[in-house]
């Protein structure tokens, strides 16, 4: 009996469990449930987040319908949020389809404090699913980055408190292993700032305990509105080498890197309003120079003069020098602009205006003003240029008649009344003459070369004669003089020595322009050397004969 009771009890309990299991499965299929959770960007649950650093709010809905309805999360609208998408799991049990869905939101809170988010409501198939409520503590202090973190990212500004429109330098700096690769940052969200200039990345090695590489970006910003403005955190990505794959083999196959994503801190800038001023201002900050110059002071009507306006300062120069004050009778067009580094941390902006006079006369470009708020002395200041006087003289008839019409692009140019009606033929050197001129120097060079060669041979010839004469003088052999001079005369006439007669010797000298006295002397000299050559007479006057021979040789070299 006792055994029967035990068996019956077991059966009852067994059936009870079966019924409970059946009921729980059946109820589970129809049950609807929603849960709101907060995680950081790595997916880890957290209760504390940081000012300006985004985190993830997830709404998990179990048993929600498979439709596109969006949940409403109470309190979310107060923050900076962005819907990131959904993920769904669909399962079918005993013919029933069940959809579990997760909604993800990227949220950023820009002010420290304690906040309550939720509950979330999702309307589905006539029912409203309600989630839990989460408490979020937003810390003003930036998160502590782990001391052993491989990659760290930080953000800073040069001024915590600025005037509206004053320049702010925002720096983002990444410190990573020296051999990290593909280091990049996300672009900061700066809707409340005017971004003027972005520099970077500037990269260099930093030698502390271990050698690391830093990358730095610099943003030049100008606050567009007053109040406590937050520059939210930026994310940084770097490919960091894996320690265990740092051998040559792994590096060769390129599998030695791990992608690291880190977030910087956020920064807050307190932007204070500018003091009231009764007219528009041109800049905020420090300005050192404001100049105006023109490239000419006298010009014709319709001509253009270039007016260069230059301002140097650390304020927002993009909006500076947009307009100039001009007297009537002149009009201006904005032309090129350029920027270059100035003194200290300033920049110089040069803006060119093209000024065109419409009528003759003397025009004074008035002083141009540049009013700015000096952020160091906390008061308004005005820089002024000097006035410039332009003399505009009437244009030549041709130009003044055509210029106004040419400015009208759809109107035909006027009749050309005083132009050249006839064509003047093109004068030119004929090509053969031109080529002759080009080649003439070569002819000159050839002639000169031939002349020099001739001169050279003649000099050599006479040098030879002189040496023979010297030899004869040393030998006291006057008989050598006649054949020597015969040779000189023959060579000057271009003949053989055997063809030369005594008459030739006399005539050649006569034609060379010697005087009558010299001719007589030459005849006497010839007679003496002939006598010496053929008569064999050697007298005491031989020295005189050699001197005469030397004289005649010199004369022939000059004149023949």
């Amino acid at each position: 009996m006792h055994m029967d009771n035990q068996v019956a009890m077991k059966k009852i309990i067994g059936k009870f469990f079966v019924v409970v299991l059946f009921l729980s499965v059946t109820v589970g299929l129809y049950a609807q449930y929603a849960q709101l959770t907060v995680t950081n960007l790595d997916g880890n649950p957290c209760k504390q987040v940081y000012v300006g650093i985004p985190f993830v709010v997830s709404l998990y809905v179990e048993g929600g319908a498979n439709d596109d309805k969006q949940p409403e999360i109470l309190g979310l609208q107060r923050f900076n949020w962005q819907f990131e998408g959904t993920s769904s799991t669909i399962s079918t049990v005993r013919g029933f389809m069940k959809v579990d869905r997760t909604y993800r939101y990227r949220v950023r809170i820009d002010k420290a404090g304690d906040y309550i988010l939720g509950p979330a409501h999702l309307k589905t198939q006539g029912d409203t699913i309600e989630s839990n409520v989460v408490k979020i503590h937003v810390s003003a202090e930036p998160p502590q980055q782990a001391p052993d973190a491989l990659v760290t990212c930080s953000m800073s500004v040069d001024k915590q408190q600025v005037y509206k429109g004053e320049r702010i330098q925002l720096a983002v700096r990444i410190l990573c292993p020296a051999d990290a690769a593909q280091v990049e940052i996300s672009r900061p969200e700066l809707p409340d700032f005017l971004v003027d200039n972005i520099e970077g990345p500037i990269s260099n090695l930093q030698h502390d305990d271990e050698t690391k590489r830093y990358y730095a970006w610099k943003f030049t910003l100008y606050a567009k509105r007053e109040g406590a403005l937050i520059v939210p955190a930026v994310s940084a990505v770097a490919q960091v080498p894996l320690a265990q794959h740092n051998d040559l083999f792994s590096r060769f196959f390129g599998a030695a890197y791990e992608k690291k994503i880190v977030y910087s801190n956020a920064v807050e800038v307190d932007v204070i309003p500018l003091p009231a001023y009764n007219s528009a201002i041109d800049g905020v900050g420090q300005f050192a120079k404001f100049l105006a110059s023109v490239n000419k002071y006298t010009l014709h009507v319709g001509d253009a003069v270039s007016l260069q306006m230059q301002v140097e300062g650390d304020g927002n120069l993009n909006e500076a020098l947009k307009t100039i004050q001009l007297p009537s009778g002149l009009r201006s067009y904005m032309s090129e602009q350029s920027y270059k580094p100035g003194r200290e941390d300033m920049r110089i902006k040069t803006q060119e205006f093209i000024i065109q006079p419409l009528e003759p006369g003397q025009f004074t470009l008035p002083e141009q003003k540049f009013t700015y708020f000096d952020t160091k002395k906390h008061r308004y200041k005005t820089l002024r240029t000097k006035p410039i006087v332009l003399d505009v003289i009437p244009a030549p008839l041709q130009q003044s008649s055509v210029l106004p019409v040419l400015l009208d692009k759809n109107r035909l140019g006027p009749l050309w009344e005083n132009g050249q009606w006839y064509a003047t033929p093109q004068s030119c050197l004929p090509w053969p003459l031109f080529v002759l001129f080009l080649l003439a120097p070569f002819g000159f060079f050839a002639l000169r070369r031939a002349y020099l060669r001739y001169q050279g041979s003649r000099r050599k010839r006479y040098a030879l004669m002189r040496s023979k004469l010297a030899q004869a003088q040393r030998d006291h052999d006057v008989a050598q003089l006649y054949p020597l001079f015969l040779m000189v005369i023959a060579q000057s006439m271009g003949k053989q020595e055997t063809e030369i007669t005594i008459q030739d010797m006399l005539c050649t000298v006569q034609e060379a322009g010697f005087t009558q006295d010299e001719l007589k002397a030459w005849q006497l000299f010839v007679a003496e050397i002939m006598q010496a050559a053929f008569g064999g007479k050697i007298t005491e006057t031989n020295d005189q004969l050699f001197q005469d021979a030397d004289y005649w040789l010199q004369e022939f070299e000059k004149k023949l």
Binding site: G413, Y422, L429, L438
Partner: protein, 234 residues
């Protein structure tokens, strides 16, 4: 006797010029009165025409709505124009091209040619000769001949000037025409029996390469060459 001939020739030339001037002034008067046809005929009778005559002839054609002919006249004016005169002509050309929906691409070589065409050919020849003589003098006589950089610069300058001279010569002998009739067909040969290559739109400028009695060998801006009837061009 020689003096008499020179005086007679000078008189003939002067009287011809004076007659042309009179025609030019008369044509201007016609134009101002709105008698564009008479003005056109008067401008056409001037020979050889200068830049103003070509320009005003183009204006007369334009006022008679003969835009391709106007373009042709203005292109002629442009070949005679100095640089500071070319703005008004280019302005009119742009207006006529706009009317005809024709677009002429101006390449960098065209710009260079435009500048080179304003240089006197004789002046350029004399400049080339002078620079050539200076170079040779320095090379042969001067101690500067040891300075290779100076000779290199002079060599390059010589080559550059010679290139400009050749370009100027080419420009002097270039001839252009404008298509003035619709349905102008570019053909392979100088006869209607030859295969047509393409149809050239009215107002398009073409370069003349060779001329026969009724046919002209031309090349278009895109480099196509062929023959076209003489009556299609101006």
């Amino acid at each position: 006797m020689n003096y008499v001939i020179i005086v007679l020739l000078s008189g003939l030339v002067t009287s011809g010029l004076l007659a042309d001037q009179e025609t030019f002034l008369k044509a201007n008067a016609y134009y101002k009165e709105g008698l564009f046809e008479q003005a056109r005929d008067a401008y056409q009778s001037i020979a050889p025409k200068g830049v103003a005559a070509w320009y005003n002839l183009g204006n007369s054609y334009y006022q008679m709505s003969q835009y391709p002919q106007a373009l042709a006249a203005w292109y002629q004016a442009l070949t005679h124009a100095k640089l500071n005169d070319s703005a008004r002509i280019e302005h009119n050309i742009a207006i006529a091209q706009n009317k005809l929906a024709v677009e002429e691409k101006v390449g960098s070589i065209d710009t260079v040619k435009r500048y080179v065409s304003t240089v006197s050919f004789l002046g350029l020849q004399l400049l080339v000769i002078a620079l050539w003589y200076i170079t040779l003098f320095l090379l042969v006589y001067s101690k500067y001949c040891r300075r290779w950089w100076l000779l290199t610069i002079l060599g390059f300058l010589n080559c550059f000037l010679f290139f400009i001279l050749l370009l100027r010569y080419q420009i002097m002998h270039e001839r252009y025409a404008v298509i003035v009739q619709p349905n102008a067909l570019l053909r392979v040969g100088p006869d209607t029996t030859f295969h047509p290559l393409q149809q050239i739109p009215v107002g398009k400028r073409i370069a003349i390469k060779e001329q026969q009695i009724a046919w002209v060998k031309v090349s278009t801006a895109d480099g196509s060459q062929g023959w076209i009837e003489n009556t299609m061009l101006m």
